[in-house]
């Protein structure tokens, strides 16, 4: 071995994947997430039964070989409905996280770069949005624009903005005094350019982890909103809505409440595990503390 050769510190993709496969949280989380997403995608082309067709003959069938999760009070197959519902939960949570990222990250990094009044305004805005518990603002938004999936997305998305603004601001602030950022400033790069070229790539890890967490919170929030009738509207199946419909039939058809609930739990659990795993993998500092 040549001692004079510089030690190769950078890990390759292969190293990373090998490390990822040894991380239990990451693997389990990833498998669950991929399964749920695949199920949602599959529902566009195939479901065991048609969820729009009401067959009263088959109503309230217990779980069995024909209908593995049973049927609801309209005779719709619960398994097919859960597949289609996954689509809806994922779409709402995904777009809501997107809103948070697209608006929150520029705001946060800009505040870190410019400081002064802009930062002050941003922090006040953050305080303000945090003062409205997500559910409350969702109720207000749907009160104005009426219930529906789009408004649920907006409501959850608004709550995500300060989350991402706060995290990207504090992460960016820690990077600004670093030598390589100084060097870039001396070289005459503008604050925007530094943010795009140097800050963003370095806070990306943190944002990915946070996005996973917000995604799982989004799934829970969407379920809650649909449950109280403010989210996705029938006839489009959604997990929260299915639970609402199951509530009055709890005493004679508990299976109607069981499966949508389990679907939510597994999805949220999968995303949280994925987030934990990603944090371990992307941020070695935190790993030691855990």
């Amino acid at each position: 071995m040549n001692i004079d050769a510089p030690h190769e510190e950078r890990e390759t993709w292969r190293d990373f994947i090998a490390k990822a496969l040894r991380n239990r949280s990451f693997v389990i989380g990833m498998v669950i997430t991929i399964t749920i997403v695949a199920m949602a995608l599959l529902s566009f082309v195939w479901t065991p039964y048609d969820v729009t067709k009401l067959e009263i003959v088959n109503r309230l069938k217990k779980p069995g070989t024909t209908f593995i999760f049973g049927t609801d009070h309209f005779g719709r197959d619960m398994f097919s409905m859960i597949m289609v519902g996954a689509r809806n939960s994922i779409a709402v949570a995904f777009v809501a996280v997107g809103i948070g990222l697209v608006i929150g990250v520029p705001l946060g990094t800009l505040a870190a770069a410019k400081k002064g009044w802009l930062e002050e305004i941003l922090m006040r805005f953050n305080d303000l949005v945090f003062a409205f518990p997500a559910l409350l603002s969702a109720v207000m938004i749907t009160a104005i624009f009426g219930p529906g999936a789009i408004n649920a997305i907006i409501a959850i998305g608004i709550f995500n903005i300060p989350v991402f603004a706060r995290i990207s601001r504090s992460a960016a602030m820690a990077l600004w005094p670093r030598e390589y950022v100084m060097a870039a400033r001396v070289a005459g790069k503008s604050a925007t350019r530094i943010t795009i070229e140097h800050i963003l790539p370095n806070i990306a890890n943190l944002l990915i982890v946070q996005a996973t967490i917000q995604f799982s919170l989004g799934i829970l929030a969407e379920a809650g909103l649909s449950y109280v009738g403010l989210g996705t509207q029938p006839p489009m199946p959604s997990w929260g809505r299915m639970l609402f419909e199951a509530q009055t039939m709890m005493s004679f058809a508990p299976h109607m409440a069981l499966f949508p609930g389990i679907a939510i739990i597994i999805t949220v659990l999968g995303l949280n595990l994925l987030g934990d795993g990603l944090r371990d993998l992307l941020d070695p500092k935190l790993r030691r503390e855990r």
Binding site: L135, V139, A143, V228, Q247, S251, A257, P260, I264, V268
Partner: protein, 316 residues
């Protein structure tokens, strides 16, 4: 400290003022004319105009905003459109359901979470720790309204130990009333307890890694003495912060849980008021909840700065 207090108090007032502006503006966008809603579609233009004038709806926006805010400052929250009673009366009779509910839930979550977190931390990396952390992962993932439905099925439908829903009122006796709040409180407490247990554990582990712990160990204290005497006290700071934040979430969380149990609380009040287009009730209840959240955050910040002097020294 004084500088920090003044600064923090100013930002409290600004946030409060902004929140009222936002809520007022939002309610202005809501379609529907309150006068029309009260009188119904058969009303003539003259009666509508008369009622609008009586309600002050013909005044400019700014005047109405100022009237609303100054009214609230002296405890006048306006009059409900649908019930024709003062809004504060409605809020008061709902608060005596929602507030105890949130408080019981907070107490439950604390009683469960802190010992669990300490236990997990003292078994760090061993089977009990792994098991508890797995359980808390589940607790975070379970939607509380779903858990509530399952509990209703088991305890109200199958064993008939508690009522499935509704609230008899405090005049029916404290125990009868508490009995109908216990399931909702457990449902609310569950995810909060899971989060709090995780926070307790990690805060404790973090303070166990500090230098003064090593010193304490070096001077001969046992592991458990160090944990109880030194580490726990310092770990409680972040735990208290999270508890303050959780109370706000609990208040908002009652919105959904009250729907599961048909409890006549603030959340149901907001819902009913929205469907009846009783906007003044929505507006005032939302302001009250938001103001509570802002106030709690403020108190937590103050408490935090008081306990940890580094914090306000840094900011000022």
């Amino acid at each position: 400290m004084t500088y920090f207090l003044i600064r923090r108090f100013t930002s409290l007032l600004i946030t409060l003022a902004l929140a009222t502006v936002v809520i007022f503006a939002v309610m202005e966008i809501v379609p529907g004319d309150p006068a029309q809603i009260i009188l119904g579609i058969g009303a003539t233009d003259e009666t509508l105009a008369a009622l609008r004038q009586q309600m002050g709806l013909d005044q400019p926006l700014i005047t109405r905003y100022l009237q609303w805010v100054s009214g609230m400052l002296i405890g006048d929250f306006g009059t409900s459109y649908t019930y024709a009673v003062p809004v504060w009366e409605l809020i008061a009779e709902r608060t005596i359901v929602s507030l105890p509910l949130a408080l019981i839930a907070l107490a439950l979550s604390t009683i469960i979470a802190i010992p669990t977190g300490i236990f997990a931390a003292s078994w760090r990396g061993k089977a009990p720790d792994t098991g508890i952390m797995g359980l808390t992962q589940m607790g975070i993932a379970i939607p509380n309204f779903w858990f509530a439905m399952l509990m209703v099925y088991v305890f109200a439908v199958m064993f008939q130990l508690v009522p499935a829903g509704g609230f008899p009122g405090w005049q029916a006796g404290i125990f009868v009333a508490l009995k109908s709040l216990i399931l909702p409180a457990i449902a609310l407490a569950l995810p909060q307890a899971a989060i709090l247990a995780r926070v307790t554990r990690s805060a404790l582990l973090e303070s166990l890694g500090e230098d003064y712990i090593r010193t304490a160990r070096a001077k001969g204290l046992t592991r458990s003495m160090v944990l109880w005497r030194h580490a726990l006290r310092n770990a409680l700071i972040p735990v208290l912060t999270i508890m303050g934040l959780q109370f706000a979430f609990l208040l908002a969380g009652t919105i959904i849980i009250e729907n599961v149990f048909y409890l006549p609380g603030l959340g149901r009040l907001i819902f009913q008021a929205i469907t009846q287009r009783d906007l003044i009730v929505v507006q005032s209840t939302v302001v009250l909840l938001v103001a509570t959240v802002i106030l709690i955050n403020f108190l937590v910040d103050i408490a935090y700065a008081w306990v940890d002097p580094r914090l306000h020294a840094e900011r000022s």
